[in-house]
């Protein structure tokens, strides 16, 4: 089920009504758990089994991690959890990719081998909930946290529908304690949660799907060769689309959880105002970048073993982070580019540690960050390297046979929206939404809220899945 669907409107209304009934807390938690399974099953019922497997394996692994003695035994239970989760991920997400690459490798060695046609269907959100459940066992293994006191709270942590299929990727310590005592939103929480959901759905339905997806598809999926203007507009549109799509989902999820009385962490902090790439990754998909840092980068050595090891850890983390987004070498290149950006930035920071950029220099660095992030988006969006080179060549005026692709109206709307997004990020760079809203007069808030909701209603939307569902 997607948030921008009529089914979700009915579903969420029912869940809110059930959650507000004067029932025992355990019963209300069971309601939430059942609702979350329904939320997931509404996409493809059989795949709920995978969710159960992931839930049960990690529950038992964490229990054993506490009860067994000896480092080897603990490591074995931790590995069981990691292998089970990554095994599911490997089969469903990377099965065909691995087969194809193995076949290509064999062909390179002169062995003709045809991979079997697997026709694997990717379970929606598997990358998100496997990471969430793995963080549970890994936190217990690393003794950062104790296991949940009861299975219901733990199962609800894994399955809680606002974050289940596209994050934010929650840690057990962030959510499980919230299930220990009764929670119900008060009127302010409920209304502010609905306001957040409106903002999120506006980003998704109106900006991402309504206005930005079209120019992206025309250039990236079309047959025409784009020139400088079309290639840049389409790439800027994609930068705006993926932000509005994913940040919109996260904001809607945070709002939905708030309506039920729960708090979820920020997943985006106005990333297009980032100055430098380490700043960007502290603002973009925060819960994933923090997960990769805590469970991959730091175990790989982090910055504790000298520069060479640090650069290796950075690149390896970002390459795997790229692969997490999809079973394609284009995602690996996207991750590799960001790894290179981060490594380059780290090198320059070390070399010019004494320099303090002026406001103008900071602005220029911000623009450079924005442009390089968008160069990397080309590999993220293009389905093939050929397609990526075609757009990149367009961006750098190297397409000989370029023809106009985008209608003027799409260029105009893209420029207006992307400029608006960047200006808003620049203004909000060191602020929170809440701190700004606290200063806005109530009538203005009412008008703005009604305007966003009206735009959602008349855009209608067609229930397009969020881009990150495929990851």
């Amino acid at each position: 089920m997607v948030f921008n669907s009529l089914t979700f409107v009915v579903f969420f209304t029912c869940v809110l009504a059930l959650h507000s009934l004067p029932l025992p807390w355990t019963v209300r938690k069971i309601n939430l758990l059942v609702a979350s399974y329904l939320f997931y099953a509404a996409w493809n019922p059989p795949f709920v089994i995978l969710l159960w497997i992931s839930t049960v394996v990690d529950w038992w692994a964490a229990k054993k991690l506490v009860s067994v003695q000896g480092a080897n035994a603990r490591r074995a239970w931790m590995l069981l959890s990691v292998v089970a989760n990554l095994g599911m991920l490997a089969y469903f997400k990377y099965g065909e990719f691995l087969m194809e690459n193995f076949a290509a490798l064999m062909a390179g060695l002169g062995v003709a081998w045809q991979p079997p046609q697997l026709d694997i269907v990717l379970p929606v959100g598997i990358s998100f909930y496997t990471f969430a459940t793995m963080s549970y066992t890994l936190d217990v293994y690393l003794r950062r946290a104790a296991p949940a006191r009861n299975f219901l709270d733990y199962a609800l942590f894994v399955t809680f529908f606002p974050h289940l299929v596209a994050g934010p990727i929650l840690r057990p310590t962030e959510l499980v304690p919230q299930f220990e005592s009764p929670r119900r939103a008060d009127a302010n929480q409920l209304c502010f949660g609905l306001a957040l959901m409106t903002i999120g759905l506006f980003q998704k339905v109106v900006l991402a799907d309504g206005f930005l997806a079209g120019p992206v598809e025309k250039v990236y999926d079309g047959a025409k060769i784009p020139g400088v203007l079309d290639a840049w507009v389409a790439t800027l549109a994609f930068g705006g689309q993926i932000f509005c799509d994913f940040a919109g989902y996260s904001t809607t999820a945070i709002g939905a959880a708030m309506c039920l009385g729960f708090a979820m962490p920020d997943n985006f902090r106005f990333p297009y105002a980032a100055i430098g790439f380490s700043d960007f990754w502290r603002r973009w998909h925060i819960t994933l970048s923090a997960w990769l840092r805590d469970y991959l980068y730091i175990p790989l050595g982090g910055n504790r073993h000298g520069p060479a090891r640090t650069y290796f850890a950075l690149l390896a983390t970002m390459l795997l982070g790229g692969l997490w987004h999809g079973a394609s070498w284009t995602f690996v290149v996207w991750g590799g580019l960001h790894g290179s950006y981060l490594a380059g930035e780290r090198f320059l920071r070390a070399r010019y540690a004494h320099l303090r950029p002026s406001a103008a220099q900071a602005f220029a660095l911000g623009v450079l960050t924005f442009l390089l992030v968008h160069v990397a988006w080309v590999f993220f969006r293009a389905h093939t390297f050929g397609g990526a080179w075609r757009v990149l060549a367009g961006m750098f005026a190297a397409n000989a046979g370029a023809v106009p692709v985008l209608p003027a109206i799409e260029i105009v709307t893209t420029v207006i929206i992307v400029t608006g997004i960047v200006a808003a990020h620049a203004f909000m760079r060191a602020r929170t939404l809440e701190s700004v809203l606290a200063t806005v007069p109530a009538p203005v808030l009412s008008g703005a809220w009604a305007l966003l909701a009206f735009a959602i209603v008349i855009e209608q939307g067609s229930g397009n899945a969020f881009i990150y569902f495929q990851f």
Partner: protein
């Protein structure tokens, strides 16, 4: 669960000073530790009052929008045809709910009156034609993946049958093969709302209305036919689809629609490759054989088009190579509108699709013609008398159920 930082087995030196200016920390500020329960502050504003005011404004705005859209000619009950509506009808075939199925492109969709067909024969066909599609993949799918053993009436617009794939109908086949419970429920909810709100129309979405402002502003970019079209059809619950009445009555819209077909001087239709023709003929032959083996039958229709469109179509592929050769290859019977005086006299207002009243007349004509040629179609006793082209000028509302009142 409790945080257990002090018991961490690995020491982490990734800590950095908290960045200045951030009033709410995130996981990015806390490396290598258990993340605490997030705290979300609520801005100190009167949110219930703000919510109530916003909903009131929204209600008024949506009411005004609904009024405006009805003034534009949108009507409640138009369910906005799409993949889910098609998949629903396709499942009716699997359930054996009818023994006549209509397959084809937009002309078959717009030009067939299911009420008239039912009034004449007592059978209400299942409408599986899709605008912008190619009938062939749907016919093949019906042959290979259904037990259907009735009559398939295939409508084609000259060369659409030779296309490489299902065209705009691709999504419908995918939706039929897998439709999630959520999507199916959303479709039912959307349909229910569509019976109350006229503004729920994909062609009148905010972004599309904005895009309509562009009248080929940029040199070298011609907006595609599908994007250029305003609303073309009105669709009922079982995909009974009519030409949108405003296309008939609004000269500006009609001219816009005519221009969208791109029949202007100098535009040459692309030729059809011989390989595509051979593939289409082979697939048709095999599909017909499969359906006949089950006891079914396939017939073809070629709905009328304006003489200007007709000339364009002939330039692309002469009838002898397209229609005649196709029927011969499939061994099927067909009714070409050029061969029937009633059908030939029907002129689509926007060159390609018949008006609502004319669709009733056309359906009357082809059902009667089929009844003469195949035992699969039989007029029921008490069927209404035949209609004539002049009935295209009659009010369409109840034309489907009665005979001609025209004087000619």
């Amino acid at each position: 669960m409790s945080s257990a930082d002090s018991g961490m087995s690995e020491r982490v030196d990734e800590r950095e000073p908290v960045r200045p200016g951030f009033v709410r920390l995130t996981a990015s500020d806390r490396p290598g530790v258990a993340q605490p329960v997030p705290v979300r502050d609520i801005p100190p504003r009167p949110w219930p009052r703000i919510f109530a005011s916003a909903m009131l404004i929204l209600l008024v705005a949506v009411g005004a929008w609904e009024w405006r859209m009805r003034a534009e000619g949108l009507e409640a009950g138009d369910i906005d045809d799409g993949p889910s509506a098609w998949a629903e009808q396709r499942r009716r075939v699997d359930a054996g709910e009818a023994n006549v199925v209509l397959v084809g492109d937009s002309r078959m969709l717009f030009d067939s009156d299911l009420d008239r067909y039912e009034a004449l024969t007592g059978v209400r066909p299942i409408q599986l034609a899709i605008a912008g599609s190619n009938a062939r993949p749907f016919l093949v799918e019906l042959a290979e993946h259904s037990p259907f053993a009735g009559l398939v009436i295939v409508g084609i617009a000259h060369t659409t049958f030779f296309g490489p794939d299902a065209g705009l109908g691709r999504g419908a086949l995918e939706r039929y093969r897998f439709e999630s419970p959520s999507v199916r429920a959303s479709f039912q909810l959307h349909r229910a709302l569509s019976h109350a709100f006229a503004f729920l129309d994909d062609r009148f979405r905010l972004s599309r209305l904005v895009h309509f402002l562009d009248d080929d502003w940029r040199d070298g970019v011609r907006i595609g036919t599908a994007e250029r079209l305003w609303k073309l059809g009105v669709t009922g619950d079982d995909r009974q689809t009519w030409l949108w009445p405003r296309i008939e009555t609004d000269v500006r819209l009609r001219d816009h629609q005519r221009a969208a077909w791109g029949l202007g001087a100098g535009r040459k239709p692309p030729p059809i490759a011989q390989a595509a023709i051979a593939t289409a003929q082979r697939e048709l032959h095999d599909a017909v054989a499969t359906i006949r083996a089950r006891g079914g039958e396939v017939v073809f229709l070629r709905p009328p088009s304006d003489p200007r469109f007709r000339m364009f179509e002939e330039q692309q592929m002469p009838r002898a190579q397209a229609w005649d050769a196709l029927l011969a290859a499939g061994g099927v019977m067909g009714l070409h509108s050029d061969d029937d005086p009633v059908m030939h006299a029907l002129v689509p207002p926007e060159y390609s699709h018949l008006s609502r009243a004319c669709a009733t007349v056309y359906t009357d004509a082809y059902v009667r013609a089929l009844a003469l040629r195949t035992p699969r179609v039989a007029l029921r006793p008490g069927a209404p008398p035949a209609l004539v082209p002049a009935d295209c000028g009659m009010p369409p509302a109840d034309l489907a159920l009665r005979g001609s009142k025209s004087k000619d």
